[in-house]
Symmetry: C2
Subunit: 469 residues, 2 copies
């Protein structure tokens, strides 16, 4: 017995040593693979050149526009050139809203004395009458204030929503969330009190002259009762507010001829490397291909698209053959409908595949700081153990929270959703505005994000998630 026990003890020790060796060697392999992904991204990455084409050859890619279709063709061709196992287009019916000729606005302090201000129609807004709207202005800090003021103070006027972003919040996305209701629902709410139009302070922390557009919704307001809505630059909002304090009788004029057309067919662009062991287990990595029509959509979300394509390029380049199917999805119509994300999720639910991990990059192409995970506690525990692998690249802020708008419809139990979290300080300076352009993206920052995404995808491919293991 004693001998046996000793033998068993020796055997156990050997087994433990064996397991430890395997674990240490797995850790080493992971480190080596991740280093290869980062090195390759920083020296042979294609993301920046792809973004250059998307931004400077094509430009702003609003759903239903010619540019959106050019972007579909271009990215499909580029994915084709990577030698993936399959590349295809998934049809999606998208809304088609068109800005028309440039908007024009001024405020009038006394009849004939006017100051022009930069303005842009909100996406989905109706036009003003052809001659524009001129009316008195009532400034509010938010939707709640409308009720207090009531129809007596609002009817016949233009409502000016001027609550700024909270500058003390370190995560600027939190500050954005605290303001966006004014843009999204302001017109629907103001219309209930008889307002004739709505102007909204741009959701931008910086004081500058760029008006920022973005989606809005009329809710259940009948078409005939919808009022036009536009965004003012932050500088113009400050100026108008100060001027109103001096003279509450100021009149505001604006004119826009945007129009909603019938839905048209567009596409999600999809490419994949088939899994060698578990082809029916799918990892999705994506961004959204559409953008607003102002600027060229480099940060929102050209960056996320080319980073997602880069993940597959990097796997090919370092010769990594995934066990699971790695699929890039460039979603159409995130900005004003989310039709691409919705359609992909619908289609995914009809297949025999099982999605285990989905990752979106839709927070700009800035230096990556970490990831946000929408997952079970067990899954979050798993990713926490991978943090040290990301520390050498300074991309190790792992938090629980949202992921990305386009992948959110996929949400099911056992699926891990995640979003890349780049540094957020500059994002809203460019978001949905004319200055969301290629020159504000730094090649290294963009590639570091792509490499971090590829590393996380590699780990999920290798180890599965907490449920799939």
């Amino acid at each position: 017995m004693k001998k046996n026990y000793k033998l068993r003890k020796g055997y156990s020790a050997l087994l433990l040593l064996g397991i430890m060796t395997i674990m240490a060697s797995a850790q080493e392999t992971d480190q080596t693979r991740i280093k290869a992904l980062f090195d390759t991204a920083l020296t042979q990455g294609k993301a920046y050149d792809w973004l250059n084409s998307l931004a400077n050859q094509i430009g702003g890619r609003l759903s239903g526009s010619i540019q959106a279709e050019q972007a579909v063709d271009y990215t499909r061709d580029q994915l084709d050139s990577l030698g993936l196992d399959k590349v295809w287009l998934q049809p999606v019916l998208v809304p088609k809203w068109v800005r028309g000729t440039p908007e024009f606005a001024y405020y009038e302090t006394t009849p004939g004395i006017t100051t022009n201000v930069p303005i842009t129609a909100l996406g989905g807004s109706v036009a003003t009458p052809p001659k524009g709207i001129k009316a008195n202005v009532v400034e509010v800090q938010g939707i709640e204030e409308l009720q207090k003021l009531g129809s007596a103070n609002i009817s016949g006027k233009i409502v000016f929503f001027n609550r700024p972003m909270d500058a003390t919040l370190i995560n600027t996305f939190t500050a954005y969330s605290g303001c966006v209701d004014q843009r999204y629902s302001g017109a629907a709410e103001a219309a209930k009190y008889g307002a004739v139009g709505v102007i909204v302070r741009s959701i931008n922390l910086r004081l500058d002259d760029f008006p920022h557009t973005g989606s809005m919704d009329y809710g259940d307001i009948p078409v005939a009762e919808r009022i036009p809505a536009a965004a003012l630059s932050t500088n113009a909002a400050e100026l108008l507010s100060t001027s109103l304090q001096l003279n509450p009788d100021i009149k505001f004029f604006f004119k826009q001829n945007c129009k909603q057309f019938d839905d048209v067919t567009s596409h999600n662009v999809i490419g994949e490397i088939k899994g060698s062991e578990f082809p029916n287990e799918v990892i999705v990595v994506g961004g959204h291909l559409d953008s607003w029509d102002l600027g060229d959509g480099s940060h929102d979300d050209g960056a996320g698209c080319v980073q997602s394509m880069e993940v597959l390029q990097l796997f090919k380049k370092i010769g990594y053959r995934p066990k699971r199917t790695i699929r890039v999805v460039l979603f159409m119509n995130e900005e004003n409908g989310l039709r691409g994300g919705t359609e992909y999720a619908r289609w995914a639910s009809t297949t025999k595949e099982k999605h285990i991990f989905a990752l979106e990059s839709d927070a700009g192409g800035f230096t990556p700081r970490g990831f946000s995970f929408d997952c079970s506690p067990e899954d979050f525990e798993q990713v926490q153990q991978w943090k040290t692998l990301f520390e050498p690249y300074l991309v190790h802020l792992f938090e629980q929270g949202g992921s990305g708008a386009d992948i959110n419809p996929l949400k099911t139990e056992g699926l891990v959703l995640a979003g890349l979290r780049p540094d957020s300080q500059r994002y809203f300076d460019h978001h949905h505005a004319e200055n969301d352009t290629f020159e504000h993206v730094n090649k290294r920052e963009l590639e570091l994000g792509a490499a971090a995404m590829a590393s996380l995808v590699y780990l999920y491919d290798t180890y599965g998630n907490a449920k799939s293991k």
Copy 2:
């Protein structure tokens, strides 16, 4: 005895509770103070406006220039306006090197067929002869290669140092360190082998058209034997290298008329809040006021200067009265002599004061990621305990390493030196080049750095360092 024991046990428990309460309340006070510093910086900071003036009213501030003197006057006046206890100028003798008229360069593939390339004289270089220099080019990857080639291959030629920064290094300052010997010592070394001039690839990870200047040194080469040195843009370096592969007989021409004048008197700008309890214990916070003459020196190091001034402004604004003396020092002549830092340290050694902490910001005005500490193990242990206070602001990468060039001469046992460490990805795109300009600084990123610096200074003021406690 038993009763007594109980009493003592009760007393001990009370004491422990008391200490824990004090510690918890100290932690709370620290959190509250640090939040006040960040909130105030983000909403009432002056750093960005100061930088606007330094950059756009004054511009590049090379030692000995009129702009450097304007910057001395401007920052002294601004410090005066903060109501500090003392503001003064410390005389420093500085070198005066002047660029002269713009440099001109081309390479000639066959006689008469030339391609112009962007070039800039290195700081401290001698001029070319008035008609310029034209010679064959020998490309090398570094100083070591000179010896292998020997005089036979170098004499009469222009040496072209073309070793690029290593793109795979995440910290770009490490990549910079791996290249800068070519710029600093290239001319001195090449002259030993009879080279007639030196051109150096700009130390920039990005491929673009900006040549980047920087300091160089002739060592013990006699004045008459010194050869002119200049930097090429990275794009030009790539082009020249490719062209040389096709045709090794290419001739390179460059012409520059820079000149070294006699030293002139300039100043460090100093302001302080006197310590209420330990006025002889000093905390220094600073950056360098001089910059290269290309661009307006916004990131290098206008940012560091205005962040350092902001530290004192924030203390005034939140009504914090420091126990120790908090002194801002804007050092003159970091770029081409370090005379300001040297002089301040010399003067400091003659006073009865004791410096306990010195912090420099000289790595750009980008999003702060943490601090680097040059200190004893006990001191590093102390700062590690403060990390959690910086986590809400995402400025918590604390590492051991260098601090800043200007404060380094202060180094003595028992003094903690530190440097702010902002995100480094974009820094060398702008460093010492025409595009180091105000529009590339983001207000929030700049202010976050200032608030982080103020927070660290506050903690050292409150708790002292490991030796001074």
